[in-house]
């Protein structure tokens, strides 16, 4: 077990290294000079646009070095916990990310919890009432959930609850520790938008997984012992059908981070998704590198935890 975890951790680091290579070198291909863009913005507010000033900025951000040297410097920094300095925000990327992560993680975490719990519940109900009307409803809704554009759902919610009924504010994010009431009114719409795809995926997976477990001998035995439905379902079916669903957790986290790019742009949430989009528009290399690296690291970590948790759900699983 320990060797398995160590080996997986090492794999994770190799993959992260590849991720950093992909991100770093592809970003260098983006047309447009970040120093020029920054200086042009400054020029509007009185800064000079002279060649010396631009060169000074390039030296300051290490952009005068060759690309491989820039990469080595960056990796050296990352290992010691320094993610570099944002050109646009004039701030440490580490600090910037720490400031932008909480909204994304907070909404993302709620979305993962909501989509997992309801996905399992709906999938289970659909499977044990297979062929009944509730099965058809769940199956149809999960089809819809897989194909609805995130922004359509956003439009619908904003139009109904924000503009017509005026129950919920349509933009903004407030930390629940600062103003819980406002936060509780701002969170539901983004959370629904983030959760719906992974909810649909989880429900589908759960349904087919339960249907499979239902055919197992031990479930037939449980029924023939005369156990009540509740006991058969919770004790015998539920736990054994969870493994494929746990696998979905890694996918859910990816889906939610991907969705946050659109949802945060839509609802004006100052999180990672919005930061990434803005940084791409302003060619803020260092922030894009740091941001995508952090996202990739978190997804790899979740997948590692998922793999380790298999042993708990099914003790027969052995790690080589």
């Amino acid at each position: 077990m320990t060797t398995y975890i160590i080996r997986r951790l090492l794999w994770g680091i190799v993959v992260l290294f590849l991720v950093s290579l992909i991100v770093f070198f592809s970003i260098r291909l983006i047309p447009g000079d970040p120093v020029l863009i920054y200086a042009a913005q400054q020029a509007g507010s009185g800064g000079g646009l002279t060649e010396e000033y631009l060169d000074k900025l390039r030296v300051q951000y290490g952009l005068d070095k060759s690309v491989p040297v820039q990469y080595l410097n960056w990796v050296k920094g990352v290992i010691t916990g320094d993610l570099g300095k944002s050109i646009r925000y004039q701030d440490d990327v580490g600090g910037l990310l720490l400031q932008k992560l909480p909204p994304t993680l907070y909404l993302g975490l709620i979305s993962v919890i909501v989509s997992t719990i309801f996905g399992i519940l709906f999938g289970l109900i659909a499977a044990i009432r297979r062929g009944k009307w509730i099965d058809s409803v769940v199956t149809f809704l999960s089809y819809i959930g897989l194909c609805v554009p995130v922004f359509l759902l956003g439009f619908l919610l904003i139009y109904v609850f924000g503009l017509k009924l005026r129950w919920l504010p349509i933009v903004g994010y407030t930390s629940p520790w600062k103003d819980f009431g406002l936060s509780a009114r701002q969170a539901p719409m983004p959370v629904v938008c983030l959760a719906v795809v992974s909810l649909a995926v989880t429900a589908r997976q759960m349904r087919s997984s339960v249907l499979e477990v239902n055919n197992m001998d031990y479930v037939r035995t449980a029924w023939s012992k005369g156990l009540r439905e509740r006991v058969v379902v919770t004790r015998h079916v539920l736990k054994n059908s969870l493994i494929p669903v746990v696998t979905m957790l890694g996918i859910s986290v990816g889906l939610i981070f991907g969705g946050s790019v659109i949802v945060e742009t839509m609802f004006g949430i100052p999180g990672m998704g919005q930061l990434l989009v803005q940084s791409i528009f302003s060619r803020d290399y260092v922030v894009i590198q740091g941001g995508t690296l952090i996202i990739a690291a978190m997804i790899i970590a979740v997948n590692l935890l998922v793999d380790i948790s298999y042993g708990w759900f099914d003790p027969r699983i052995r790690y080589e």
Binding site: W11, V15, L16, L18, I22, P149, S208, T265, L276, T292
Partner: protein, 299 residues
């Protein structure tokens, strides 16, 4: 002598169905009403894209500021956008964009991805390790974040969005093809090919590929929908298809600004996207059930 050592007859490729298979395929495929619905939507979509200039009542790119933000009327059945362009006409031309991005991306990523998967699975060893680790790295990103990054690198525009999405969706095909190849490789007919000294390339293309292809076909159909959805997301953020190009995602982004006064501007293109993606998913499902019922729930 030669009669004793006859070359083993090449197995019938299972992907080329015989007549009875074809009939069974059709029966299972058209069994579900939602699949029929999907086929109808896709036929309408393709016809709309082909005959766009005939169907669209107005020029989709023609600005007409006096007519901006109109409600639906006899002249503009879905109203006009912020530049006075006819929403219905833009919707019709958007079908072209969606299909172009969908098919362009899927063709590139499926071909490249399947070749890589075939190589990784069949040759194994260091080639497998390199290809699959790169795929792991690509899968370390959420698909939309990766597509966003690549689209930013390449710059917006139709071609670049297609390339970005192709790279972002590559790992799915490669992994599926690799695992299929690994299982097909164990069959006796592959060993027979090796025994008679057939070249690796020939074995891969003639014998492994046809027998490992079916699951990829289902993935391709479902991916068509996913790719269109992802392109809509990119265009919605403003990194995909650039104006004045008619893309449903960027139309929705414009509509968002006028959600209160002209909700149709936001809803019409978004619902179009949903219908098309739904149709592709349904056809993919029908294909999966008809080709191989064992795949149910795995893709």
């Amino acid at each position: 002598m030669n009669e004793v050592f006859t070359v083993p007859k090449e197995p019938e490729a299972t992907s080329a169905p015989r007549i009875s298979d074809w009939r069974r395929f059709r029966r299972v495929f058209f069994q579900r009403k939602l699949v029929i619905f999907g086929v109808v939507v896709l036929v309408i979509l393709v016809l709309t894209a082909i005959f766009a200039p005939l169907i669209a009542p107005h020029d989709p790119y023609l600005n007409s500021l006096p007519e901006r933000l109109q409600s639906p009327s006899a002249k503009h059945i879905l109203g006009t956008d912020d530049l006075g362009r006819d929403t219905f006409s833009r919707l019709v031309y958007g079908a072209r964009t969606a299909l172009y991005v969908g098919f362009g991306t899927v063709v590139i990523s499926a071909i490249v991805g399947m070749i890589l998967g075939l190589l990784a699975g069949y040759l194994g060893g260091i080639i497998n390790a390199v290809i699959m680790r790169v795929m792991d790295a690509l899968m370390g990103f959420p698909m939309l974040v990766l597509a966003l990054l690549l689209a930013a690198v390449l710059g917006g525009g139709l071609q670049n969005v297609i390339i970005a999405l192709s790279i972002a969706t590559l790992p799915g095909y490669t992994r599926l093809m690799c695992s299929e190849t690994l299982s097909v490789k164990e069959n006796e007919y592959i060993m027979a090919q090796k025994a008679i000294g057939s070249k690796s390339i020939r074995t891969m293309v003639r014998h492994v590929l046809p027998n490992a292809f079916q699951p990829s076909l289902v993935l391709i159909t479902t991916m068509l929908g996913n790719v269109i959805l992802a392109e809509a997301g990119l265009s919605f953020i403003g990194i995909g298809i650039q104006p004045p190009g008619a893309a449903w995602g960027s139309m929705a982004a414009v509509g968002y600004r006028f959600l209160e006064s002209q909700p149709l501007l936001a809803f019409a293109p978004s619902i179009a996207i949903m219908l098309v993606v739904f149709a592709f998913n349904m056809v993919g499902d029908g294909l999966r059930d008809a080709l191989d019922p064992r795949l149910r729930g795995t893709l």
